[in-house]
């Protein structure tokens, strides 16, 4: 802990008293941290208590399935896993296309527990991985903020992070997704970076690369780290804050980190070949140039140095121009300019909606609305500016990093809702700093106003937390000339004391500064009433945040989305239709049957029903998805041909019209048309639109009323209530009575939410007829074949 050295150095007479106090402080903060961990874990259990211990949503089902495979078959099989149950007939190389961090983490936990003879199922481990890692993330936040502004701010930020709604939304029990462990990895990597920056220790630099490796394993969002840290390094260099500590914090990270990142199959050579990583290499070159310049400056006389500079700058510029030209040429030759679609949509928020409907069709890739900021980070939104100001008083290397982090993450969260998750830790850290600084000022001034407190006690009591960072930076500055003390890992306070004792000038300056600060503080003291009231207001603000977070955890974010519930007058009503359909598929169809559905349900179908799907949520092949989209938006006969060519036996559609479930396939239909039309031009979006709107009522276009999706959704729907009133679209449907000729209904769930149809087999040709029109069929069949060729992209 950083607190002890400052105060013991400042007030040596109270040495024994203070060690006791610090010991208590240490124990206290340990228990507070423990409780924060418990809080972070338990606030995420609402989903288990209110619903059940089950995997949520879509992507987690895939991760769960991969984890099951890993625990069953082992790590080597996992790396070589070619999954033939998805993307039929293409298949997918899972081992090489998945971020393995989460899977390996959960698999390791499971293996560890089972080798201790604790027979938890893989599902249980997966369900509770996210809450466990949120506890880790809040501890990492404590460490990070402690590096910036001391233990007090650290504890406050950790509490805030433990229950920030944005993070809860991605890490409730059952939400077994990459982000669950990635946020911990992100914060921990940043912590180790700042730790290295503050200590200049190569030990932490190595740990930092390992943490970065874990982050690369876990989430595609690692590019945020590998761009943010270079930005910070550049900022430090530009503002004249270059030091050997900065070099140690950065250079090993780039070298080791890139090497390690390239070990992850899904990243591989992307770590050196895509534009997302180029910034880090550029800064890597710059920092070496700067380091070299500093070195030369040290050994040359000022005059010689000037000459050398002019010489190097002219030659260097020429070389740089050549290199940059080559690079630009290389990058420009690739179609996406070396940037992946998702990253491009980060830089240009309108990119996705313009060019890639498949990215735009995912709701979490849309830009957020203002209320979602309030929903997701609540009062932190107001505390962040205060925290940024506190970071500037005074500005250290670490606090400038926090400022940069919050600024960039605010931008990214504005682009994609999903990246709100990256903003949340930054907002928690800055708000924690703001709150802790405010508490320091207010409690400090109350203490000054209260009679009967000696000034000495005031100094060390009031300042323990606020002083730390300053003392630390002071200390670091004091160490600067003394190179020998830098490389030593500063682990224990005891050692630090000794070191400080060795270092009398530092001690003296610290003492003098503490005294000066006490003076300053007396001047800054606020009136008693004002500080008491503002203290109360801050507590109320915190209480408001707690209430909101608990509400968000309990009500807004804990629904598993595969089972829906509504509360009506006659009690709780459960809609468990998805699992009903998947269970039916898994028990009553052949194990090798292929099921076609819109890609949203791909992961769930493979995981829960264990059936081969055509497309799934890993949207890697746009053409394949477009084929399914085309089939869904084609008339029955054409759709049958497409599905038949794909060996599909069952078609699954999700229909919410009976009970009013809004995210059904009819509402997603515009994306099927748009994505299908993007690849197969005979699907034209205007054919489905009336007055620029997708309609299914009597105003709908004939193309719409004859397409497969409409027919499969509304087949015999009119017989339920006689009117065929769609409760989602709030209208009566356009075409009520129709028959299916190429599909037959084989299963519909209890509330009609999932309907499964079977492709009818080819009809036997009637002999007599065939003979009669022999000459005719030959001509028509050839024309037909050419006709189907156009419609059917698989022939």
């Amino acid at each position: 802990m950083a607190a002890p050295e400052a105060s013991t150095a400042a007030v040596p007479t109270l040495y024994t008293n203070n060690t006791l106090r610090n010991a208590f402080g240490g124990v206290l903060s340990f228990f507070i941290l423990l409780l924060i961990g418990v809080l972070a874990f338990s606030i995420r259990l609402f989903s288990v208590i209110k619903y059940e211990s089950v995997i949520h949503e879509f992507d987690p089902y895939f991760n769960y399935r991969v984890t099951q495979f890993l625990t069953k078959k082992g790590i080597y099989e996992f790396w070589n896993w070619f999954d033939d149950r998805t993307w039929y007939p293409l298949g997918r190389v899972i081992g090489g296309t998945v971020y393995p961090g989460l899977t390996l983490t959960a698999g390791t936990i499971w293996w560890l527990l089972n080798s201790l003879n604790i027979p938890l199922s893989v599902e249980t481990v997966c369900v509770f991985t996210a809450p466990i890692f949120s506890a880790f993330a809040s501890w990492a936040t404590y460490l990070l903020t402690k590096e910036v502004k001391g233990a007090g701010a650290g504890l406050t930020s950790a509490v805030l992070l433990a229950m920030v709604p944005s993070y809860i939304s991605r890490s409730v029990a059952g939400s077994y997704d990459n982000e669950a462990v990635a946020i911990f990895a992100l914060i921990f990597t940043f912590y180790l970076y700042l730790k290295t920056l503050n200590t200049g220790s190569l030990f932490y630099a190595t740990l930092n690369s390992l943490a970065y490796f874990y982050m690369v394993c876990s989430w595609g969002g690692y590019t945020f780290i590998i761009n943010l840290i270079p930005m910070h390094v550049l900022l430090c260099i530009v503002t004249g804050r270059y030091s050997s500590r900065l070099y140690i914090a950065y250079a090993p990270l780039v070298v080791l980190g890139t090497l390690l990142a390239a070990l992850v199959p899904v990243v591989g050579f992307n770590a050196v070949m895509t534009s997302e990583h180029f910034a880090s290499f550029l800064v890597f070159i710059i920092i070496h140039v700067v380091a070299f310049v500093y070195y030369i400056k040290g050994i040359l006389s000022p005059k010689m140095f000037k000459v050398a500079v002019t010489l190097v700058v002219t030659v260097g510029l020429a070389v740089c121009c050549a290199v940059i030209a080559v690079l630009i040429a290389l990058v420009a030759s690739s179609p996406t300019k070396g940037w992946s679609g998702r990253s491009l949509s980060l830089l240009d928020p309108t990119y996705a909606s313009k060019y890639i409907p498949i990215i735009a069709s995912v709701s979490e890739h849309q830009p957020p609305t203002w209320p979602s900021y309030f929903m997701d980070i609540n009062v932190l939104a107001f505390l962040v500016p205060a925290g940024i100001i506190a970071c500037f008083l005074p500005l250290s290397d670490a606090s400038s990093f926090v400022v940069l982090y919050i600024a960039t993450s605010v931008y990214f969260s504005g682009v994609m809702v999903r990246l709100m998750l990256v903003l949340a830790p930054a907002a928690c850290i800055t708000s924690g700093i703001a709150l802790s600084e405010a508490f320091d000022v207010l409690t400090g001034s109350i203490k000054f106003q209260l009679p009967g407190v000696t000034s000495n006690a005031e100094v060390d009591a009031g300042e323990t937390s606020s002083d730390t960072s300053e003392a630390q930076t002071d200390e670091v500055k004091a160490e600067k000339p003394d190179d020998t003390s830098k490389n030593r890992p500063l682990k224990k306070s005891k050692k630090k004391e000794r070191e400080l004792a060795e270092n009398p000038p530092a001690k003296a300056t610290a003492k003098a500064k503490a005294k000066a600060k006490a003076e300053k503080k007396r001047l800054l003291a606020l009136p008693l009433e004002a500080s008491v009231i503002s203290l109360l207001l801050l507590v109320v603000l915190g209480a408001f945040y707690v209430v909101h977070s608990v509400w968000a955890a309990a009500e807004a974010y804990s629904a598993p989305s595969i089972v829906l519930t509504t509360r009506s007058r006659d009690g709780l009503h459960v809609f468990d239709d998805f699992r009903e359909a998947y269970a039916w598929l898994s028990h009553n169809t052949d194990v090798n049957d292929k099921v076609a559905s819109w890609w949203d349900y791909g992961y769930q179908t493979t995981a829960m029903a264990n059936r081969t799907v055509i497309v799934d949520n890993n949207t890697w092949n746009n053409t394949h998805i477009a084929t399914v989209g085309t089939a869904m938006s084609s008339p029955e006969r054409a759709a049958w041909e497409i599905f038949h060519s794909l060996d599909v036996k069952y078609v699954l559609v999700v229909f919410g019209g009976l009970i009013g479930y809004p995210s059904d396939d009819i509402n997603k239909f515009l994306w099927m048309v748009r994505i299908g039309g993007g690849v197969f031009p005979h699907i034209k979006e205007p054919d489905y639109l009336r007055d620029g709107q997708y309609r299914i009522d009597s105003q709908a276009t004939p193309t719409m009323l004859n397409c497969l999706m409409y027919k499969l959704s509304y087949y015999r729907f009119v017989e339920t209530d006689g009117k065929a009133y769609d409760r989602v679209r709030r209208t009566e449907i356009g075409k009520k009575y129709f028959k299916l000729t190429h599909f037959e209904e084989v299963f519909t769930t209890h509330h009609w939410m999932v309907r499964i149809y079977k492709l009818k087999p080819l009809k036997n040709r009637i002999r007599g007829k065939a003979k009669k029109s022999k000459s005719k069929t030959s001509s028509t069949s050839s024309s037909k074949r050419s006709g189907t060729k156009k419609k059917n992209p698989w022939q």
């Binding site: 059940e52 089950v54 201790l116 003879n117 604790i118 027979p119 030593r488 050692k495 595969i562 089972v563 459960v574 468990d576 699992r579 009903e580 998947y582 269970a583 039916w584 028990h587 009553n588 829960m608 015999r716 017989e719 339920t720 037959e744 209904e745 084989v746 299963f747 519909t748 769930t749 209890h750 009609w752």
Partner: protein
């Protein structure tokens, strides 16, 4: 329809008469059955046959063994055979259960299989006694047509003999067959036979020699769902901390006529009586009283459609599968519950403990093709032995559960073809020292202690090279 069947029956009759004359067993012929009445209940998919035999010893030596014979096709489906004898006179009659065991006879005609009833008191020459026999047949009703659509009802064949197959001479016999509804498509006529309401009567037939056989075929409507559990694994875990945890894994199948073509939810919901009449909508499980923490789930999570009713004598769990089961459809699920240990675990006088628990499947009106009962004894228990009222296959396994070191002994019992009458109690005896209960808490405590000691040691050791 009638004529060919009768021809076949006549053929069978001749065949059996011939056989009878060839292998006339000398050891059997001194008994004869003066009166036999058979009631066959076909109202569910489990065929219940009540046989009342009046046995007379016509020989000179007393005998205590009475043989029952079954055709080989029936023996495979025979789940249980029980025999009772009436004792006492007139009003004070009591029923006494008799031992029944399968027997091999060397000169069995046409592979007929035998069961021996061991009488409590040997039947002396000239005496007679009345035996009540109950046997149950599973998988004996064959759906015809084998595939039906959603709106059709389920028709089945039942094959048997109009005459009771017996190694003894039967003086007079009658057979009553009860069908679930009045809808009977056809039945083989063996005069005198007639049908009234839900009952078909064959007989009375007089004086038939041993091994008389007259095949009959009844084609009738049976819309009761054919609930068959293909495999059931029951695991009973004993914890001496006061809990008995039961986990039952079911693979359920509807073994009736296979569903064909379309399943329409509209029809199923709007006209439930006409549509899917034979579908399996819910099941009833009878659990012991004082059951707690009941769960009902499958591999993809909780199944929310179940109701538990408890009272002081029994608990009833009504479960609905995720979807209604039509013929040929399958479902798997798990039911688990906890029970207070003191209701099921007792101590013998010689310091051994024994578990007293029901063997069969708690679902009502269900056939279990294969049942595995696993009794997980607590860690450290010794000398396990199981006592089951009927023959089962047994072996021992070891299971590792929470923080086990040596593992728990598991007594595994397997049996095929079970019906609800198998729900009788079995006992597992073992010895256990209560000190083993403390092993795991002590282990945990010492692990934590060592961890703290390690922490303290680490904080007090200075490993740095430079001072």
């Amino acid at each position: 329809m009638d004529a060919p069947i009768r021809a076949r029956e006549a053929l069978g009759f001749i065949l059996f008469s011939l056989l009878f004359s060839i292998c006339r067993s000398s050891s059997l012929n001194h008994l004869l059955i003066s009166n036999a009445e058979r009631r066959i209940d076909l109202s569910s998919h489990i065929v219940k046959v009540y046989l009342t035999l009046k046995v007379e010893n016509a020989g000179s030596t007393p005998t205590s063994e009475v043989f029952l014979s079954f055709p080989p096709t029936q023996v495979d489906h025979l789940a249980t055979v029980e025999a009772l004898v009436t004792k006492g006179k007139r009003k004070k009659t009591t029923l006494v259960r008799l031992d029944v065991k399968p027997t091999e006879l060397p000169d069995a005609p046409n592979d007929a299989k035998y069961f021996t009833i061991y009488l409590a008191n040997p039947l002396k020459s000239g005496e007679s006694t009345t035996l009540e026999v109950l046997y149950l047949l599973t998988h004996s009703q064959e759906p015809f047509p084998a595939e039906i659509a959603q709106s059709e009802s389920q028709l089945v064949y039942y094959r048997d003999s109009a005459l009771i197959l017996s190694p003894y001479h039967i003086k007079q016999q009658t057979t009553f067959i009860k069908t679930p509804s009045t809808k009977v498509e056809s039945f083989t006529r063996v005069e005198p036979s007639n049908r009234a309401g839900t009952e078909i009567k064959y007989g009375p037939y007089e004086d038939h020699p041993p091994y008389s056989f007259s095949p009959i075929l009844i084609h009738f409507e049976n819309n009761s769902p054919f609930a068959v559990v293909e495999e059931l694994v029951r695991e009973v875990e004993i914890s001496h901390w006061g809990n008995l945890q039961v986990t039952e894994q079911y693979t359920l199948v509807h073994a009736g006529a296979r569903h064909k073509g379309v399943f329409s939810r509209v029809d199923f919901q709007s006209r439930p009586t006409l549509n899917g009449a034979s579908s399996l909508r819910y099941l009833l499980a009878r659990l012991p009283p004082r059951v707690h923490s009941v769960y009902y789930r499958d591999e993809i999570g909780n199944i929310s459609s179940s109701h538990l009713r408890t009272d002081s004598r029994k608990s009833e769990l009504e479960i609905e599968p995720r979807y209604p089961l039509f013929g040929g459809w399958k479902a798997t699920f798990v039911i688990g519950y906890g029970l207070p240990l003191q209701d099921f675990l007792f101590e013998t006088s010689d310091d051994r403990r024994y578990l007293n628990f029901t063997f069969g499947c708690p679902l009502l009106e269900t056939v279990v093709d294969k049942l595995t009962v696993k009794v997980v004894l607590p860690e450290g228990s010794k000398d396990p032995s199981a006592v089951v009222p009927f023959p089962v296959e047994q072996h021992l396994e070891t299971k590792y559960s929470y923080l086990d070191v040596v593992g728990r002994t598991v007594v595994v019992m397997e049996k095929k073809n079970l019906v609800p009458t198998h729900n009788s109690h079995f006992q597992v005896y073992y010895t256990f020292k209560p000190i083993f209960m403390l092993a795991e808490p002590l282990m945990l405590a010492s692990a934590f202690f060592l961890f703290f000691v390690a922490c303290v040691a680490y904080l007090h050791i200075d490993l740095s090279i430079r001072k």
